[in-house]
């Protein structure tokens, strides 16, 4: 596929575009010099409290331009995304969109290929601590899976024995060096050829518990729509890990709410728990090395740092219809320390950018490029904001009220609280405090910058792995992007 140079340059491309946009705005703002430094006025509340205030604010014309610009960007991204998805939906081209609904429906029209069956694959590398919970959650589903296979990859603990004790099948990988993707490829190569059009493969992380009703809802979707190629889980964070845990839980609540607003149109089929129609996986394997990156015959691209994100791009590139229904929820681990969070997010960030480098700018990847540019620009915007606050704080020794900034603060606080409403009172309180989430965002921005530096320098990406205390019934490293 694409050259290594382009892959390494993807971070710089995103940084350059985002930086270019910021410079243009700076020049535009500087070309019409704003009024310099008003002297704060003094006022009184109820004639008692003396306070300093500064009414300085951009002109209505500038404010209107800013709002229009934001609306224009949002509308452009949304419209292009709708256009791309409509194109896939209406496509009848077996060559370019072999997984498009119309192509799949034509191939299965008028024939009943049997009821939907579910084979669960649980890749596990030394997961004796968390595997029992995962197995219990999947075996207790109201719609029981037809097969459960634990894919034991280079295990040196009791993973295999635990799987046997729960009465599920175990397949041990042979000479696998490509981690989770390689382990899954091995087992998929042997089971996919026997699967029919209504046979579904579920990939479930060994540290993830699926909520009851997950499988029933997913099977119902696959039954009612034979054009549907994949169903992804919506994840929420497990309890624990204090403030850092709550910050991550808030983030996950917002992501789920966003997917809900999009009616399940998903960005990434989570590696923690997703189901794929066998036809989809076979088609991906057949197209690797040609229209999508990777080695022909491999379902997962072993070169990808975030294999779930990569597989989502592969499916979308082939025209597949994929969703994340609100009923399909999974509990996922939150990182217990800033260090662990840093490693996890660095992998997600690098994985997302590297995948875009591998696919290039295509209709299917447009939305993801826009997302990366959005994050890149937000890094610059947030840095500017922090710089402004710091200069102001260091240069003023009396508290001055800025009604314009206070108003904006109220708007942001409202958005933070409303968007996390489903997360409960703790989530809302944390959102209302504003500052902790602002600091969390700054940390994620630093990860983003580190990711770009690492990619550009060609440093090897690392997989995070959280060591669990044996008594802890928790989830382990996971793959949402």
């Amino acid at each position: 596929m694409r050259s290594q140079v382009f892959n390494r340059g993807v971070g710089l491309v995103v940084a350059a575009i985002a930086g270019g946009a910021a410079i243009l705005l700076w020049i535009a703002v500087a070309s019409d010099p704003p009024a310099q430094g008003n002297v704060p006025s003094t006022g009184a509340i109820f004639g008692v409290w003396q306070l300093l205030y500064d009414m300085q604010a951009p002109t209505p014309r500038v404010l209107l331009a800013a709002v229009s610009l934001a609306a224009l960007f949002a509308a452009a991204v949304a419209l292009i995304e709708i256009r791309v998805s409509n194109r896939s939906r209406r496509s009848f081209d077996v060559q370019t969109s072999p997984l498009a609904p119309k192509v799949i429906m034509a191939a299965t029209r008028g024939t009943f290929h049997g009821a939907v069956s579910v084979t669960v694959l649980i890749p596990a590398h030394n997961e004796e601590v968390t595997l029992p919970d995962t197995l219990r959650s999947i075996l207790a589903q109201s719609h029981r899976p037809d097969r459960v296979i634990v894919v034991a990859d280079n295990c040196t603990d009791d993973t295999v024995a635990i799987a046997h004790s729960h009465g599920v099948e175990v397949v041990e990988t042979v000479d696998n060096t490509a981690k989770k993707a390689g382990a899954l490829n091995q087992v998929l190569r042997s089971i996919l050829p026997d699967q029919g059009p209504n046979d579904v493969i579920m990939v479930l992380d060994a540290d993830t518990a699926v909520d009851d009703g997950f499988l029933a809802a997913a099977v119902s979707r696959f039954t009612n729509d034979r054009g549907l190629m994949a169903v992804g889980g919506l994840f929420y964070g497990e309890e624990g890990a204090g403030l850092l845990g709550q910050l991550q839980r808030n983030e996950y609540v917002r992501y789920s709410a966003q997917i809900g607003r999009r009616r399940g149109r998903v960005f990434v089929l989570t590696g923690t728990a997703s189901l794929f129609r066998s036809t989809a996986l076979r088609t991906v394997a057949a197209n690797r090395g040609a229209s999508i990156p990777g080695i022909r015959g491999d379902v997962y691209d072993t070169a990808a740092l975030t294999e779930d994100n990569e597989l989502t791009l592969a499916l979308k590139s082939l025209g597949a219809l994929i969703i994340s229904p609100a009923e399909c929820t999974v509990v996922t681990e939150v990182m217990p320390t800033v260090g662990a969070l840093w490693v996890q997010r660095l992998r997600w960030q690098r994985g997302a950018l590297e995948n875009l480098g591998a696919y290039g700018l295509t209709p299917a990847t447009f939305r993801y490029w826009a997302q990366q540019l959005g994050i890149g620009y937000s890094v610059i915007a947030l840095s500017g904001f922090v710089l402004l606050i710091m200069i102001t704080v260091f240069a003023v020794n009396a508290w001055v009220w800025f009604p314009f900034w206070l108003g904006l603060g109220v708007v942001f606080t409202a958005e933070r609280v409303v968007s996390v409403w489903n997360g409960g009172w703790r989530a809302r309180l944390l959102a209302a405090a504003l500052v902790p989430e602002l600091i969390f965002d700054i940390v994620l921005d630093l990860v983003y910058v580190q990711g770009i530096i690492d990619i550009t320098r060609g440093r090897k990406g690392a997989w995070g792995h959280v060591d669990h205390a044996p008594a802890r019934t928790a989830l382990q490293e996971e793959n949402v992007s």
Partner: protein, 92 residues
């Protein structure tokens, strides 16, 4: 008022004159524009979503069943089977 301002001639670390420099004015305007843009996006994320297709009759109607059961009813044909049921009769 003048007395109050004169009482705070310099800041804690930086001279107060920084706040009256052109750089600071441009930075403030730059940040203001960005913040307003993000505020607009933030508001757009919390206002209720309108799905226009819900209001347009017929947009979501299917001409044939998408179920794995070929006999399944469709909105257009609530009872009639929509396709033959013989295995292998589908379009390749």
């Amino acid at each position: 008022m003048t007395g109050l301002i004169q009482a705070i001639p310099t800041g804690i670390v930086l001279p107060e004159s920084v706040l009256h420099s052109e750089f600071f004015a441009v930075l403030a305007a730059f940040v203001a524009v960005n913040t307003v843009m993000y505020a607009a996006l933030a508001i757009s994320k919390i206002v209720p979503m309108v799905h226009w297709s819900d209001w347009l009759p017929g947009r979501r109607r299917r001409t044939e069943t998408r179920s794995i059961f070929p006999d399944a009813a469709t909105r257009e044909h609530p009872e009639a089977p929509s396709a033959p049921t013989v295995r292998g009769s589908g379009t390749p």
